[in-house]
């Protein structure tokens, strides 16, 4: 039995359909990340689980029991808000203990729990401060502390790191990952940052316009995206997308001619394609080889921008008659702007999407 299950859940705000027929499950101790572009309904979905919004249709099951009508505080969930939502006039200790105080827990028990949680989050020396006397990262930890102290069945996080600067975001990301292990916690985590999703998740749910595009492990989604949306949403820099046409198909394989003339047509494994179909061919920047040796086909182009990141080099190549192609090369590549190159396209690394954007082949 799953820890939490959403069964065909929908949510409408008047005429607006924010969530449409969404189903997924969360297992005990799983770290599930809901990811998608702004406005796709991530927060709404989390708020439905929390009970801050009513579910319009469908069921929410927790430990197998229908929880649609259970008041938020009785769902055994704790939520960490994007803006932290710390009470400005209460100290750190008071902020963390609000839930326990409302539940009229014994004072001595509260005190020991506060210090226990403060120790986990390194907040011991800050307990008497007010939120405005804390840094962004410290406030975030207090918000997490307020969740931990209640010992919830499931943690809900709504974009907890989006208010932090890049360095702090990285650090807190690691801390959340550690916390997940240390507490054996079940976590549902909302973000629009695909890197956070890829690094933290056991399971990713990709949302778009209120619907689920795909559910899977980070690697599963990365290597086998079900459609163009998922393919281009995950991965940075984005997957290159090249329009083309099927010029020959056989059982399980297809021959594709790219609109921007590749050296030769490319043979890919693909189902359900017939001659003349329009397709989009996707290839990740790291799968492209600079220099055509050993590739099934190549594209001639000219290097327009080189970004040296140290560990890797990102190269943008202008192709005649098409949009620029992004290539990732390992290490500090010895390549300069203006160089003419041939980009090798290994057939085994190509994703092929049909006219409707659905993947027709599976890689790996």
């Amino acid at each position: 039995m799953s820890k939490l299950e959403m069964v065909s859940v929908s949510k409408t705000f008047g005429p607006v359909k924010a969530i449409e027929d969404i189903s997924f499950s969360v297992e005990e101790r799983e770290f599930v990340v809901l990811v998608g572009p702004s406005g796709c309904g991530k927060s709404t979905l989390l708020r439905l689980i929390a009970g801050l919004e009513d579910i319009s249709a469908g069921d929410l099951l927790i430990n197998g029991t229908r929880f649609n009508a259970v008041p938020p505080a009785q769902r055994g969930l704790a939520m960490v808000f994007q803006s932290y939502a710390l009470y400005p006039h209460m100290t750190v200790a008071e902020n963390m203990s609000v839930g326990l105080r409302i539940a009229r827990v014994d004072k001595a028990v509260i005190a020991s729990k506060v210090s226990e949680v403060a120790a986990i989050l390194q907040l011991e020396t800050l307990l008497d401060r007010l939120p405005r006397q804390l840094s962004g990262g410290q406030r975030q930890r207090v918000a997490i502390g307020r969740a931990i102290i209640r010992d919830p069945e499931i943690f809900l996080f709504d974009e907890p790191l989006s208010n932090l600067d890049a360095a702090l975001r990285l650090q807190m990301r690691l801390e959340i990952a550690k916390l997940h292990k240390k507490l054996d916690a079940t976590i549902i985590y909302v973000t629009h940052d695909q890197v956070e999703a890829m690094t933290l998740a056991d399971k990713i749910v990709v949302l778009n316009e209120g619907r689920i595009e795909q559910i899977g492990t980070p690697l599963g989604l990365y290597t086998a995206p079900r459609n163009i949306f998922v393919a281009s949403f995950l991965g940075s820099p984005k997957m290159n997308l090249l329009p083309g046409r099927v010029t020959g198909s056989d059982s399980g394989t297809a021959r594709i001619d790219l609109d921007i003339g590749a050296s030769t047509p490319i043979d890919v494994k693909a189902e359900r394609l017939s001659d003349g179909d329009r397709v989009t061919v996707g290839i990740r920047p790291e799968s492209i080889a600079v220099g055509a040796e050993g590739s099934d086909a190549f594209l001639p182009g000219v290097v327009s921008v080189v970004e040296q990141l140290g560990g890797q080099t990102i190269v943008y190549v202008d192709i005649e008659g098409g949009s620029p192609i992004t290539v990732i090369m390992e290490g500090l590549a010895d390549i300069t702007t203006g160089t003419a190159v041939k980009l090798g396209l290994p057939g085994s690394a190509l994703h092929v999407f049909d006219d409707g954007g659905e993947a027709v082949n599976r890689i790996g």
Partner: protein
Amino acid sequence: MARDVPSAVSRGGHGPAYFALLFIFWLLTGVSIYPLMWLVISSFKTSAEMFGNAWAFPESWQWGNYLKAWNAGISRYIVSSVIVTVASVILVVVLSAAASFALVVLKFRGKAIIYTAIIGGLVLPPEVSLFPLFKTLNFLGIYNTYFALILPYVAFGIPFSTFLIRAYMVKIPGELAEAAVMDGAGPFWTFWHVYIPLCRPILASAALIQAMRSWNEFIFALTFVESESVKTITIGMMSFANALRSDWAVLMAGLVISVIPIMVTFLVLQRQFIGGLTQGAVK
């Protein structure tokens, strides 16, 4: 805080604009303080001195004027005014804060209509409702009691203070109330432990405004009570003036006494009041 606010005047040193502004400020201060000073000084003179030498300081300070005024009936009016003002301020602030909280935080149907109805009270001039109110108070059997003033003051005070407090509460992030819900708090807890503490500056402002309105109100006080024992200071001063006939200096002393409570209230609340104005800048 205030020091950090860059000002066009002080940044460029003390130029002509600085002195011009300073002059204007002093002028305004003088214009508003002058009548008050005159009142206070006159209240320490004899009546003869007051007319004979209006501008000078008193030859000997007549503290007795104050005692006379107090004993001549001012004390009674002050007590009535304090009772009516304190009661109406407490009721207005508590009810408006509760109404604002409901309008901002709670979910229910017909919010917009209720808010419009409350705010609609702002456009109703008190004079228009004199007669119906008079009938109502008679019907309720509270004509000529403190309630005959407290109830109308509360009714006419709520629209503006709800307008004020609601506008402030709207700016408190809704996530605070949601966090409280997740923590198991009911609406009353959230109201009392989150919204009231965070709204203190605006509650102080609303209290101050209502205190001045109740203290200085004239028409209702003139119409809804008639016994000396329930008359408030604004009406009381009229009887007082009649009773004293020509003892103007004592009358001045009575007037000074009548503004002292509201001045004290202002001084007590103004820290909160000004705190409320600057808080947004600090955050």
